[in-house]
């Protein structure tokens, strides 16, 4: 069962509270140039949220914040946590850049093939799933349902230069 614990000030939970407060303050700052009609509602919410964030921060400093450990990992549950988080973040970044540069129909099957291939060491499964995702995005979404997925940088360049 998850444990509820009292966290020290400047824990992750405390810093997120500060970030929410800063966001509210930013809303108030950016909204000062808008017409009153446009900012009445956001200002009311931002001021309330800012007050709550200040209260949360003060409670964190004075008494510590009460945090449920359910969402986190148990001590030593995952080895090399930081390194593996970085690896998956890079995979994710690669997928986003791939979609932007070469488009969904190419980037997603390649991403799936490489991740499953390298992480699970199962190249047959990787190939099958890559074909399945290509069929889903290209055949079903684009060709059958005629859904226009975002054009890639490459496609736009090819069109602009008369190659496509």
């Amino acid at each position: 069962m998850a444990i509820v614990r009292r966290e020290t000030p400047r824990s992750g939970t405390w810093w997120v509270g500060i970030a929410v407060g800063v966001l509210s303050a930013l809303v108030l700052y950016v909204g000062r140039d808008y017409r009153p009609k446009a900012v009445q509602f956001p200002n009311a919410i931002a001021i309330t949220t800012l007050i709550l964030a200040v209260v949360h921060t003060i409670i964190g400093v004075l008494r510590g914040l009460v945090v449920d450990t359910e969402g986190g990992f148990e001590q030593g549950e995952v080895a090399n946590l930081g390194r593996r988080r970085a690896v998956y973040a890079l995979w994710g970044l690669g997928a986003v850049l791939g979609i932007w540069i070469v488009g969904v129909h190419t980037a997603l099957p390649v991403f799936l093939f490489l991740v499953i291939g390298f992480e699970a060491r199962n190249w047959i499964m990787a190939t099958c799933l890559a074909i399945a995702i290509w069929a889903f995005t290209y055949v079903l979404l684009s060709q059958v349902l005629h859904i226009l997925l975002p054009a890639s940088l490459l496609t736009r360049w090819l069109i602009a230069n008369g190659y496509y």
């Binding site: 808008y34 009460v66 945090v67 995952v78 998956y88 997925l149 975002p150």
Partner: protein, 506 residues
């Protein structure tokens, strides 16, 4: 009353004309697919099928469209429970208890409880509409902008105060969600707000990338980091995963199902409230009325039954303002109304007199579609729940690909992908620092509704309406009571479970 019963019988008979029945079945199968794929939903389905539906007779068109629309919220529980991906905002509450059940190896039980709860919900709503149509119409007529604002706020307070360890954090996150909802062009002020001169943000932030990023991406990343399957072992999954267990749960909590069906049906009748509010009102009611509420959010089957029952009952309810008053209850109903106009049916007050059989055919379509899908899903779920046993290194990247595609279906723009990634990071941080994610998405969905109704209220009424209108007074008292009770409950639970030592952040 006799007219109503005759209309109900005639409407049910219309559905069993073979051509109409076949169109309904086609709609159901398409709707199942749209519910299963994160990012696709009933509204997209309605819009895609509209050109086809307008070539049919009115009876066939409504069977086709409503057959599709009715089942999307039933099958969207499947990704929410099995892989922790709530494809629509209406599946958030189901995800909250359904996914922990799947991780415990009780995916089958959670899914079958959700199907049966949906069937019970629509059935109770349909019977309730037949028996109490005149009374319900009076209640709905007394709802105006102040009541809509108050009930939306009540739903938001429920979500903010019931989820997570701290009510304070819940309210802050709700505030953040409301602020995000203000991004984009404000109709009433005729001005762009907080767009940072980015064209993509001028039409507002789409909900699908946020929902997928906040909820699904952190779960998938943790699966990959732990390198485990969603469910622990085959033993627990197959032993506990049965249709009978889910049915037994619904029967055991039958009064909860009845109460949440009534709440869902009435919420559906109020134009603009939508499935998300209905679902949270029902979830909140389940938590508040439970003797032991400590397991909610950790895999309590009542947390699956209540929202599924409510959101299913909301659909027949939403048909009433659309048909009887000509006011579409939500965006999907607006498309539905468009289809009705094109096929020669004029929704409005005369609909209940001149087209009563068609009105009831629509309500029965929702009921029958839910029943058919429950049977179909029970049949295929034995295969679907095996997803919970597939290795994380295989299942997680596949889910990410579907999520990326789903996110892009919001506005078909690269901005959707960026938004999905940004909110994925936010969701991951929130998850690991005990900040609740559900109030953010609900506040984001309810934000425009709250602001518009507040705007209309401040223009048309003075402050005295707060203590002059009985429904408003009732909702205000309920909101304060819920907030006070949540703080009291949280302090009591914390006292029992608080670890005395100070532990470092992981």
């Amino acid at each position: 009353m006799i007219d109503v019963l005759q209309g109900a019988a005639s409407g049910l008979g219309n559905l069993f004309i073979w051509q109409t029945f076949l169109f309904m079945m086609a709609g159901i199968l398409i709707g199942m697919f749209f519910g299963l794929v994160p990012g696709l939903n009933g509204l997209i389905g309605m819009a895609l099928l509209l050109p086809l539906a307008i070539t049919m007779s009115p009876e066939n068109a409504v069977a086709f469209l409503l057959g599709m629309y009715a089942v999307t919220t039933q099958t969207d529980a499947i990704p929410a429970v099995l892989i922790g991906v709530p494809g629509t905002s209406a599946a958030q509450a189901t995800y909250l208890d359904g996914y922990p059940m799947a991780r415990r190896g009780e995916a089958g039980r959670a899914l079958s409880a959700s199907y049966f709860a949906s069937v019970v919900g629509t059935l109770i709503a349909a019977v309730g509409i037949i028996l109490f149509l005149p009374l319900l119409k009076n209640i709905v007529d007394s709802f105006a902008a102040p009541e809509n604002f108050a009930i939306s706020l009540f739903g938001l307070v429920l979500a903010a105060s019931l989820v997570g360890t701290s009510v304070l954090r819940g309210l802050m996150v709700a505030g953040m969600g409301l602020l995000l909802a203000t991004v984009g062009y404000a109709d009433h002020a005729r001005e762009d707000r907080f767009t940072l001169d980015i064209i993509y943000l001028q039409s507002g932030i789409p909900v699908i990338p946020i929902a997928l990023g906040l909820f699904a991406l952190p779960e998938v990343l943790d699966l990959l980091l732990k390198r485990t399957s969603i469910a622990g072992s085959t033993d627990t999954l197959l032993r506990k995963g049965g249709a009978a267990a889910g049915l037994a749960d619904v029967l055991k909590h039958r009064w909860l199902a009845v109460r949440t069906a009534v709440i869902g049906c009435v919420s559906g009748m109020i134009p603009g409230l939508g499935g998300a509010v209905a679902e949270w009102l029902c979830y909140g009611h389940a938590v508040q009325s439970a003797k032991d509420s400590s397991q909610f959010g950790k895999g309590d089957v009542r947390g699956v039954i209540a929202p599924e029952c409510g959101v299913a009952a909301q659909k027949p309810g939403a048909l009433i303002p659309t048909l009887a008053m000509g006011i579409p209850g939500n965006a999907s109903m607006a498309v539905m109304m468009g289809a009705l106009f094109i096929v020669g049916i004029r929704p409005g007050p005369t609909m209940l007199n001149e087209n009563l059989p068609l009105t009831f055919q629509m309500i029965w379509t929702v009921v029958l579609a839910n029943l058919i899908v429950a049977v179909l899903c029970l049949w295929v779920q034995r295969y679907l729940i095996r997803i919970c046993l597939v290795r994380a290194e295989i299942v997680a990247p596949t889910i990410v690909c579907f999520m990326l595609t789903g996110a892009m279906l919001a506005t078909y723009s690269m901005g959707d992908v960026v938004l999905f990634a940004v909110f994925g990071i936010v969701g991951y941080v929130f998850k690991h620092t005990d900040w609740p994610r559900v109030p953010l998405i609900l506040a984001f969905v309810l934000g425009p509704l709250l602001e518009n109704n507040l705007w209309i209220t401040s223009l048309r009424y003075d402050v005295s309406i707060m203590w002059e209108r009985p429904i408003l007074i009732f909702v205000e008292i309920m909101t304060v009571l819920v907030l006070a009770n949540s703080v009291r409950m949280r302090l009591r639970t914390r006292k029992d479970r608080l670890q005395p030592i100070t532990a470092p952040d992981e």
